[in-house]
């Protein structure tokens, strides 16, 4: 494991594009949360400042960071696609790695990137949480803190799906385009299924790991609510809002999907020529 980690470290950290993209990822995340923190939007029952206070911040920051998981997945696809483009997977096998080692190496890379983004969000939560919360108590501070672990699972989920795309298509451009196209395609596919089963699609379930914070939901729905208080739009029906699957089940199914993607990757890497 240590050997595979060292190999992946050389491959990633010595790749200028990887370093640049990771710095951009870091800056973009902090830029977004800084810009939002300077907005002064007031809706009855909602304020921007509230998003940065414990415990709301545990929901808001992972939700913001979840958008950048797609960015991280594209970085991962690029790294894996390079292995096929430059035939370096072949060379690694020639030099003494097994095909399973190649998969393990990339899973180590996925977990390393997920740990990095987990730590980045944790750091941001702690900094902004302490700076912006009016009253800090331990119970408030740790309430909803488990959501950052769920965010970690989501990052692993997106990147594992990205790895599957890279292994199937073996081409950077094609894998990235098809990965991005898969988002609307799955959204359209879901419409052909009964609403009860829509939440079980892989992307849907993985994206539901970091649902839109409740207070943002309230804010969005208010603008579509009639004077009598009835909602003019069924957000769940059109897929804008997550359906009401309990978080525990969502996590469980997501881990199942991650396991399924990994199994498929192992099969493909062992069955196909390098």
């Amino acid at each position: 494991m240590r050997k595979l980690f060292n190999i992946e470290k050389i491959k990633a950290l010595s790749y200028p594009a990887f370093k640049t993209l990771m710095i951009i990822h870091f800056l973009l995340f902090f830029l977004v949360i800084l810009i939002v923190s300077r907005q002064h939007i007031t809706i009855p029952g909602f304020s921007i400042k509230g998003l940065y206070e414990f415990p709301n911040i545990w929901k808001f920051f992972p939700w913001v960071a979840s958008w950048f998981n797609i960015f991280l997945t594209i970085v991962l696809i690029t790294l894996v696609g390079n292995e096929f483009t430059y035939k370096t997977f072949r060379q690694n096998v020639i030099d003494g790695l097994s095909r399973n080692d190649l998969v393990k190496g990339k899973l180590i890379l996925i977990f390393s990137i997920a740990i990095y983004t987990f730590l980045m969000v944790l750091l941001a939560v702690l900094i902004f949480g302490f700076l912006k919360s009016d009253e800090i108590s331990f119970s408030k501070m740790i309430e909803s803190s488990h959501l950052i672990l769920v965010y970690f699972i989501q990052a692993v989920g997106y990147m594992t799906l990205g790895l599957l795309f890279a292994v199937v298509f073996r081409n950077n451009g094609l894998s990235i385009i098809l990965f991005l196209v898969y988002f609307p395609v799955e959204g359209i596919l879901r419409l052909f299924f009964p609403s009860a089963s829509r939440s079980f699609f892989p992307l849907k379930i993985i994206s539901n790991l970091t649902p839109k914070p409740e207070f943002l939901t309230i804010a969005s729905e208010k603008s579509y609510t009639s004077d009598s208080g009835a909602s003019l739009l069924d957000f769940s029906e059109i897929g804008l809002l997550p359906e009401d699957l309990p978080l525990g089940i969502t996590v469980f199914i997501s881990i199942g999907y991650i396991g399924f993607f990994i199994a498929l990757i192992y099969v493909l890497m062992n069955k196909r020529n390098l």
Partner: protein, 295 residues
Amino acid sequence: MDTVLKINHLSKNYGNIQAVRDVSLEVKKGEVYGILGPNGSGKTTTLAVVLGILNANGGSYQWFDEAFTKLARRRIGSLIETPNFYPYLTLWENLKIVATIKNASEKDINYALGVADLLKRKHTKFGHLSLGMKQRMSIASVLVGNPEVLVLDEPTNGLDPEGFAEVRKIIQSQAAEGKTIIIASHILDEVEKVCSHVAILKSGEIVANGKVGELLSSEETVFIQAENLYELEEILIRSGLASKIYMKDEDLAVVLESDHNSTELSKFCFEKGFPLSKIVVKKQSLEDQFLQLVK
């Protein structure tokens, strides 16, 4: 002598195309084994299968008399087709990856770069090298970890004559150290000068196999010229003097049966009314042998 590589009835298809068919061969420890064949004859595919890059459709292979494990892989240094390295990494970084895989030290990296004369370029990115230097880098990567067996697929690709000679020198020095070397090439001179054994592949099949010396000394070829060469060719075919007759350039090449010699051939032609204007006896080169086999 210990067997390093044993291939049994190996086959590999690409869709409907059978790239390798029923190839069997055995490489013993210390041999410099050449796999010779024209482009597309299945040399690279055979090596790629036995190195685990491609999956075989039939047959089997063993390295060091056992299944091909990770440990076995690390005893082999291989170069297949083109140099496969990360263009954005330096030579040192690329070889560091190889060394990590093979549990080799940094000293090994320096040694390999030194042998390939790339020590001064170790901080250059691989993508910035010329084709010849890339090929030398491949040779360096093969040597990392001091493997017992070297598998080299077209090792002199892209090299100038000087580089060609250098690579040949490296191969010969490694062979002198007792290493087993397997070289696939379509360059006959390369194989003839460095190999002790050779297998000739044609359309994915082995058409000849043995010691280079035996393949070369088995037959003598006599190149003759006379008036009416085509008529003479017909007469010689029926004479029983020759095992093979073919045109080469302006000459008629006659491969004599082992119990006949060039004097008898000359006398026979004269008696039949075809005085020879040229008669040159040549020990058959690997090139002649190769061209006949792959025709």
